[in-house]
C-alpha cells in the first residue's frame, strides 16, 4: 500500500473537481481529467492501492502531523511518499463546527492577497477565523516565518529524517521529494496555452512525476533532492518524447 502525504501537488489540485471549479480546468473543459494525477498513474503501474492524504496549501508542519496521526495505520512493506512543500508555509488550527473537529488554515505568500481580495468583497471570515485575527496572523507570518526560509527548511529536513528513520525501523519504505520539482515539468498554464494561469501540474506533468517516483522506487532512492533528480534525468522523459502526450481537450 502507498500512503501519500503532501500539499496540492499530491492532492491533484487543478485536475480534481472541487466545490469551486473556477480556478481549475473545469472552467475550460467538460472532459474529465480527475484520474490523470500521479497517485493514479503510480497505482496503475505498481498494481498497489493508494491512500492519498495530500491537502492543498498544506505546510510541512501539517504534513508531519498528518504522518504522525496516521502512523498506526502503516504496516510492514508499505511505502510512504512525502512531498515537501515550501518551508515558509504556516498551518494554523481552528475548530470546524461542521466536522466537529479541528482543521487547519494554511498560510503562505498567496494568503495576503487572497485575504485582501475576499475582504474587499465583504467576506469577513476565513473559515471560522475573523479577519481581525487573520490580519494579526498574516502580520506574524510576514515578519517572522516568511523571512526564515533557509532556517525552517533545514529544520524541516532534520525532522523528516527523524520520522523517516522511525518508519524505516518498522519496515516501511519512504520516499521524500522536494518542492523544486514543481517547476521541472509541464504545468496547467502551458498545457492550456495560457488560458488558465494555474501552475499545478498538467496530466503530462503528473505522468512525468509518476515516472520520477517509479525510477526512485526501482533504484532505491529515498530522497529526491535536486542532485538526485539531476542524476536520474537522463533516464526520464520530461519532454514527453517517448510517451504519449496527453492533449488538452475542451470537450469530450
Amino acid at each position: 500500500m502507498f500512503y501519500l502525504f503532501g500539499d496540492s501537488f499530491t492532492e491533484g489540485i487543478g485536475l480534481i473537481k472541487e466545490d469551486d471549479n473556477s480556478l481549475n480546468i473545469y472552467s475550460l473543459t467538460t472532459f474529465d481529467y480527475t484520474d490523470f494525477i500521479w497517485p493514479n498513474f503510480l497505482s496503475k503501474y505498481t498494481g498497489e492501492g493508494v491512500v492519498n492524504l495530500g491537502e492543498g496549501g498544506a505546510s510541512n508542519h501539517y504534513i508531519r502531523e498528518s504522518i504522525l496521526k496516521s502512523v498506526n495505520s502503516f504496516s510492514k512493506g508499505d511505502t510512504i511518499i512525502i512531498g515537501m512543500t515550501k518551508s515558509t508555509r504556516l498551518s494554523f488550527p481552528y475548530y470546524n463546527k461542521v466536522k466537529e473537529d479541528y482543521r487547519y488554515i494554511h498560510v503562505g505568500p498567496h494568503s495576503i492577497d487572497w485575504v485582501e481580495r475576499r475582504n474587499k468583497i465583504g467576506v469577513k471570515k476565513w473559515v471560522d477565523i475573523d479577519y481581525s485575527h487573520m490580519n494579526v496572523i498574516l502580520n506574524y507570518y510576514t515578519e517572522t516565518i516568511s523571512r526564515c526560509e533557509d532556517y525552517i527548511y533545514n529544520r524541516d529536513i532534520e525532522l523528516l529524517d527523524g520520522l523517516v528513520s522511525l518508519l524505516n525501523s518498522v519496515g516501511c519504505r519512504c520516499i521524500v521529494w522536494e518542492d523544486f520539482l514543481w517547476g521541472e515539468t509541464e504545468g496547467i498554464a502551458d498545457w492550456t496555452f495560457g488560458r488558465l494561469e494555474n501552475y499545478h501540474w498538467s496530466p503530462n506533468g503528473h505522468k512525468f512525476f509518476s515516472t520520477v517516483l517509479i525510477y526512485a522506487l526501482e533504484n532505491n532512492i529515498s530522497h529526491i533532492d535536486l542532485n538526485a533528480f539531476k542524476q536520474m534525468l537522463p533516464y526520464l522523459d520530461p519532454e514527453f518524447k517517448r510517451t504519449d502526450y496527453i492533449d488538452f481537450k475542451t470537450t469530450v
Partner: protein, 253 residues
C-alpha cells in the same frame, strides 16, 4: 538507556542548579551541591539502575519538544525508554533573526513576553538575552501571541496531544517504551512555593515533588502505564506510596 524530554520540569529547574530562563534567574533552593541531583530524572536513574540522558530545557514549547524528539528518533534502540513531558500549549517557538536570516534562531515566547526588557541593539533592532530581533518582528509576534494565540489554547492542546500520542504509540510498536505525561502534573506534586512556605514564589517542584514523581514513573514502567494525565495521576497517587523521608526546606539551607 532512558531519554527524557520536556521543559523546566524535566530539566529540574529550581532544584538542579541556578537556571536562567528568558533573562530571569531561577535560583536553586538546595544550596548544597550534594543535593543538587534531587530531580525526578536522577531519582529515576537510581530507582531503575539505567543510564539516563536528560534532554529537558526550560521555557520550551511543545513544538520544540516534538522537534527534539523527532530529531533524535534514529538514536533510540529496542529496549530504550523515552519519557516525554508535555508543556503548556500556550508556548510558542518562533524563528527570528535579522539581515539575511541565515543565522535565525528559535525564540521561545511564554506568557511573560510583554514584560521582557528588550534593549536597543541598533537603529532597527532590539536585543534580549542573546536574541536580536527587528522592531516589526517584536510588534508582530507580541500581537500574535496575545491577541490570537490564547484563543486557540484548547485546540493546540488537542493538536499536541495527538502528536505525542502518535509518536508514543509508534515507539511502543518498535520496542521502545514511551511514557507521555502532560502539564496537569505540575500542580499534583509539592511545589517550591509551598515547600519554602511561600518564601520563594516558584511553581517548579520541590525535591519532594521530584522524588515522588520519580516513583510514579517507576510504577508506570513496572505496570505498563503509558499515558499520564490528571485523572490517571490522581489514581496513581492513591496506590504509589511516598516511601522516602520528607526533605524539609530548613534542613537544606
Amino acid at each position: 538507556m532512558i531519554y527524557t524530554y520536556g521543559d523546566s520540569f524535566t530539566y529540574g529547574t529550581g532544584v538542579r542548579d541556578n537556571t536562567t530562563l528568558n533573562g530571569k534567574l531561577f535560583k536553586s533552593y538546595i544550596g548544597q551541591s550534594k543535593w543538587s541531583d534531587l530531580t525526578w530524572v536522577m531519582e529515576l536513574k537510581r530507582l531503575t539502575g539505567s543510564k539516563i540522558l536528560n534532554k529537558g530545557l526550560g521555557g520550551v514549547s511543545n513544538e520544540f519538544i516534538i522537534y527534539k524528539l523527532l530529531k533524535d528518533l534514529s538514536q533510540f534502540t529496542k529496549g530504550d525508554i523515552v519519557i516525554v513531558g508535555g508543556t503548556k500549549s500556550l508556548r510558542l517557538m518562533t524563528p527570528a533573526g535579522e539581515g539575511d536570516y541565515s543565522n535565525s534562531v528559535l525564540l521561545p515566547i511564554t506568557h511573560d513576553v510583554g514584560e521582557w526588557k528588550w534593549e536597543s541593539a541598533s537603529k532597527d533592532t532590539y536585543a534580549f538575552d542573546g536574541w536580536e530581533v527587528s522592531k516589526e518582528q517584536i510588534k508582530a509576534l507580541i500581537s500574535y501571541y496575545y491577541e490570537v494565540f490564547p484563543k486557540y489554547e484548547k485546540l493546540y492542546e488537542t493538536v499536541y496531544d495527538e502528536q505525542y500520542s502518535g509518536i508514543s504509540e509508534y515507539l511502543d510498536k518498535t520496542g521502545i517504551t514511551c511514557i507521555y505525561w502532560d502539564n496537569s502534573a505540575w500542580i499534583e506534586f509539592e511545589q517550591i512555593v509551598e515547600w519554602t512556605n511561600r518564601r520563594n514564589i516558584d511553581g517548579h517542584w520541590s525535591p519532594n515533588g521530584h522524588l515522588y514523581f520519580a516513583r510514579i514513573l517507576k510504577f508506570c514502567l513496572d505496570h505498563n502505564v503509558r499515558r499520564l494525565n490528571k485523572n490517571r495521576l490522581i489514581e496513581l497517587k492513591e496506590c504509589v506510596p511516598m516511601d522516602f523521608p520528607y526533605i524539609k526546606y530548613t534542613t537544606l539551607i
